[in-house]
């Protein structure tokens, strides 16, 4: 059966060039980068090379990039590290309602420890308004954290403007850029961020590796304690093969950035156009103005997302849904809720993300299957366009 992967925001396959560079670091060049003899230093050099590649992609200085085990670790580090190091200054953090759970749940944990967390709202396009940030700032605010690109609807935030507001008040600014890396241009110096989180497996690198950009002089405590790895900022023996893979993926992402954005967004636009043409009663959530190039978040009215997901899976098509029924908590997507989308519409929302291996034929096959599936489920459904909700 044909397989069509349309969930590149969940994860991406490791590219062959990436895997080829990683393989020697498992068994052959297995040395510990902290060891002083040759095979140790060979591994250390490979980690340093990867650091340079990641730094180059985001226009950072090489020694401002710290490898972590994942994007979530970098997010946790930002929250716990900044609030700890700046506890004498204050106990207030500002973030948004549409962050990834790595941020939201870190915020919830901090709240239990006596720190106030303010969640900024977003408009119906999923965008944070700078004036809302300005209003939320207090004398005791120590951290502002706003994601660069939303994982569900793909909205790009005005990070440069938001970081400038935080800095005007002397507040550290962090951005979770896990979905942004390789999909939108990132220049940490131009954006003016102090901290930024990244993940390898969203850019055709391996899972189990992330990174934190940390501007020199940022007041942040360590999060993982132990050895002196990562300039004594993040303990733990380096995941050499994974880091090498992340480095290669970053190099490819930089080389391909323009063509990737162009190809992926043109496929995504074609997909949305075909969905609208072939299927009635659909709504595209978010905005087309400043969006992740591969993201299409679409509500299919009068039916439920998990049903769509299962039937697409039967056809070898892989997508994700904001429906409550597919989540372990049975709570509908917090992102779509924050955009003001009615709950019954959230239940029928599907996130499609196209990526580097998606073809037009894949999308034509998907449209064909999707058209039949939506029609079938609407025939079964107890609600429809005539009856209304």
């Amino acid at each position: 059966m044909r397989q069509v992967y349309l969930d590149y925001s969940a994860t991406t396959p490791v590219k062959k060039e990436v895997l080829d560079e990683m393989l020697p670091y498992f068994s052959e060049k297995f040395g510990n980068p902290s060891s002083l003899y040759d095979i140790g230093q060979e591994a250390a050099a490979a980690v340093a090379k990867a650091r340079g590649r990641v730094a180059h992609l985001i226009n950072a200085d090489t020694n401002e990039v710290y490898f972590t085990s994942c994007g979530s670790e970098a997010d946790n580090w930002a929250f716990f590290g900044v609030t700890d190091a700046q506890s004498a200054k204050g106990k207030h953090v500002i973030t948004t309602e549409i962050e990834h759970h790595a941020i939201l749940h870190s915020g919830e944990y901090l709240s239990k420890r006596g720190i106030d967390v303010t969640y900024l709202p977003v408009d119906h396009e999923g965008r944070v308004h700078p004036e809302d940030l300005e209003k939320a700032i207090r004398p005791d605010t120590v951290l502002v954290s706003v994601m660069l690109v939303n994982n569900e609807v793909g909205t790009v935030q005005p990070i440069k403007e938001l970081a400038a507001i935080a800095h005007k008040h002397g507040i550290t600014f962090h951005s979770d850029a896990v979905q942004g890396l390789g999909n939108v241009p990132i220049d940490v110096k131009d954006m003016g961020v102090d901290l930024m989180s990244f993940s390898s497996h969203k850019i055709y690198g391996p899972k189990g590796v992330g990174a934190m950009y940390m501007k020199k002089g940022t007041r942040i405590s360590n999060y993982l304690h132990g050895g002196a790895q990562e300039s004594a900022r993040r303990a733990g023996t380096e995941n050499t093969a994974g880091i090498v893979g992340f480095g290669k993926a970053a190099e490819l992402a930089e080389q391909n950035l323009k063509s990737h954005i162009k190809n992926v967004s043109s496929l995504r636009d074609y997909f949305i156009e075909q969905v609208k043409k072939n299927i009635p009663d659909v709504i595209v959530n978010g905005t087309m103005d400043g969006r992740h190039p591969g993201n299409a978040n679409i509500t299919f009215k009068y039916i439920e997302g998990e049903s769509i997901l299962i039937l697409l899976n039967e056809k070898g098509i892989y997508i994700s849904t904001g429906s409550a029924c597919s989540s372990k908590s049975l709570a509908p997507s917090h992102v779509l809720t924050a955009l003001g989308i009615p709950v019954e519409m959230i239940h029928g929302s599907i996130r499609f993300t196209v990526g580097d291996f998606t073809t037009k034929e894949d999308l034509d096959y998907t449209i064909e299957c999707l058209t039949d599936i939506v029609k079938h489920l609407r025939e079964i459904s107890s609600v429809n366009a005539e009856k209304g909700w």
Binding site: Y302, C325, V343, E379, I380, S382
Partner: protein
Amino acid sequence: MAMYNDKVMDYFLHPHNVGEIENADGTGVYGSPVCGDMMQITISVDKDTDVITDAKFKTFGCGSAIASSSMATDMIIGKTVEEALNVSNKQIIEELGGLPAIKIHCSVLADHAIKSAIYDYAQKNNKTYAGLEGFDPNADDEEQDDSPEHI
């Protein structure tokens, strides 16, 4: 899908009794699109024998909601009204070979949709059934729902 067993998948992929009976003897609707599941069950009843001769469903909901509706309608066709009232959500789950714990509420919805359809039939025909005692078709979902995780 690894999350559902083969029987649930079969009832979801090839549902039985989909549709709406015209001039039904009883109609029950339970749940709401806001909650993520809404079932409508229509029944035909032989008024002399009290046997349910046909049942059809229409469901807005996930795979297990559709499979539960399909199974529930299968289970009540051919039963007397009193026997149908004894069909519990537990039996629906057993017949489906089990549902993931988080999806138990879908079978509860099917159970209530059946009772609502029978309640409608009883009201229209001035009948009383022991199995309907204390049943309120308009009761709040959350009170009826025994799944604490359903929010």
